[in-house]
Symmetry: C2
Subunit: 338 residues, 2 copies
């Protein structure tokens, strides 16, 4: 397996990215990496580590697409950027998977433009894995498609199922539709139509609507929604989590007894934080692209980036791209793009 | 002020509802109540309390719309239900505000059908008040309208502004648009068009997009969104909150030291829980109806119901309905319903 790695993506690049690669390489001997970015800076970072040099190569990319650039324009103009060069490696078959903690929009636009979609896939989707009370759940789409059609959501269900089956090894992933009520017939125009489509689809274990209060219940393995709603849910989760911790800290620090209690509970807080930590689950795969694409969190440290590589290993060895291609080919949708 | 109160709405009706009325009446001498529901059951509850009988009357309503009934059908058929009879009191001018902890859908449908919209209002909106790191924020709409047009969102902004100004006494409420990015130009079709409308609107202090991770930041007073997204956000907040507390409890109870720490931190947890408690903020007003409508939480206890009544007092004395009517009349929208 060969991974194309954007050495200049994310808040802590390139040092955390390269350190993350080293951590992952120590754990697993079955892959090599191609780092894209400014060659001399990468070499300066690599010197700090001991590693098998046969497993590491560099493709010089002097440009960087930063997180505030307009994605499509940046991808078209910055041909020499670390993202574009790495995507090109996947498109040309020199790498099996692309991993970056950089500009999400540029990754989405670049993956679609350069690596291209799996034949039959209408829209690729960004699909983070969230922790629940029991096991992980995939929320798909979380931001690639702000406006969706029911047919897209149906395809998201196939893509999510292929991933959870082959990467997380869940035999028959339970698919839920994010909706504003649990009963059939609830929803907005999109979810009502999507419900009907999902219900009739072969090869999906559709178990019905999921109200967002039950996302973390552990009752679902794949949750489908449009990218605007998924993005709102993801950011609400994030905001609530940090706000609660902040409020709790203020409360705990306001009294002597509770302050002492907080110190004594510290271990438990830490365990909880790691249980909820996206770093443990790697990054978010972009599914539907004709090659592996993993978006690591922008603030990834070395450990988080190493988890994203672990995820890439499973994505490639489980042939998720091939499995999605088969599922999409076997379940064509009755609607053509205008 | 006279309030029409659905004595049979909610999980703890009628006892918690009636006890809540008593609590509110002890605190404030300026209103009287009309309870709707089965008269003899209400009388049996009232006997348990000491109160000024001149302030309490009963309108017999033998039927109840339960929480699983299809709203529009239930409202049309169950003319003798506690919800319909109470709404009728508002529609006929016998009461200034309706308060219920019952079936939300039936309240929405009934309010629109019986009390009717304020002239010019396209869609009434359900608008809960959420706690933040500093002060409350209104999220509008949270479920009345699953599919929205930009014009509806503009009106939500006017309605939310009128409420926060006259009930929460915020001089110039900051209005944000829930969106998938902070910059102008981000969004789905609805939010892009809504941004342009809000930006050009007089009488709204529109400060731009709000990503849902910042809902609880305290940087906004009114946040507008379509009812599907608002509902998803509200339920995600709720789910995250309870899941986190559950996870934390499990972690804390897994070790002796942290167990002791948890006991010592108990006061802090309790304060946090009450800071986040919807009961402190009363219920969610349904804005845009030609009369006061307050939806109390389905699981309201007496204290929560009393808060909903406090809210009704402010809603009526602040003449929110009149203020909304003026704002809507002063800012007509350039689009007619088909």
């Amino acid at each position: 397996m060969i991974f194309a790695i954007d050495a200049f993506g994310g808040d802590n690049a390139p040092s955390a990215v390269i350190e993350g690669c080293m951590l992952a390489m120590q754990k697993n001997p079955d892959f090599s990496i191609i780092l894209t970015g400014d060659e001399s800076t990468i070499r300066d970072e690599l010197i700090k580590h001991t590693y098998d040099s046969a497993r590491v190569s560099i493709v010089h990319a002097p440009d960087v697409i930063d997180c505030n650039e307009q994605p499509t324009i940046a991808v078209r103009r910055k041909k020499e950027s670390s993202i574009v060069k790495a995507l090109r490696l996947v498109a040309d078959g020199h790498a099996d998977c692309f991993i970056s903690a950089g500009n999400t929009g540029a990754m989405l636009a670049g993956a679609t433009l350069i690596v291209k979609r799996i034949p039959g896939v209408k829209r690729p989707a960004l699909a983070p894995i969230l922790p629940t009370l029991q096991g992980p759940v995939m929320l798909i789409d979380c931001g690639a498609n702000a406006d969706c059609r029911p047919e897209y959501l149906k395809q998201f269900a196939y893509m999510g199922t292929a991933y959870m089956k082959n990467v997380i090894e869940i035999e028959n992933p339970r698919v839920g539709l994010i909706n504003n009520g649990s009963e059939e017939g609830k929803g907005n125009e999109l979810t009502k139509a999507s419900y009907s489509l999902l219900k009739e689809s072969d090869g999906i274990n559709f178990i019905g609507n999921c109200e967002p209060r039950d996302i973390m219940s552990g009752d679902y393995d794949v949750l489908v929604c449009d990218g605007f709603v998924g993005n709102a849910i993801l950011k609400t989760l994030e905001g609530t989590f940090f706000t609660l911790l902040k409020m709790l800290k203020t409360e705990l620090m306001s009294g002597t007894v509770s302050k002492l209690g907080a110190v004594m509970s510290k271990g438990a807080f830490k365990t909880l934080k790691s249980r909820l930590d996206y770093k443990e689950y790697g990054g978010a795969p972009l599914l539907g692209i004709n090659g592996g694409i993993i978006k690591a969190h922008g603030s990834s440290d070395a450990k988080a980036f190493a988890s994203a590589i672990d995820q890439a290993i499973k994505l490639v060895s489980g042939d998720v791209t091939g499995k999605i291609a088969s599922a999409i080919a076997a379940n064509p949708i009755d609607w053509e793009e205008l």
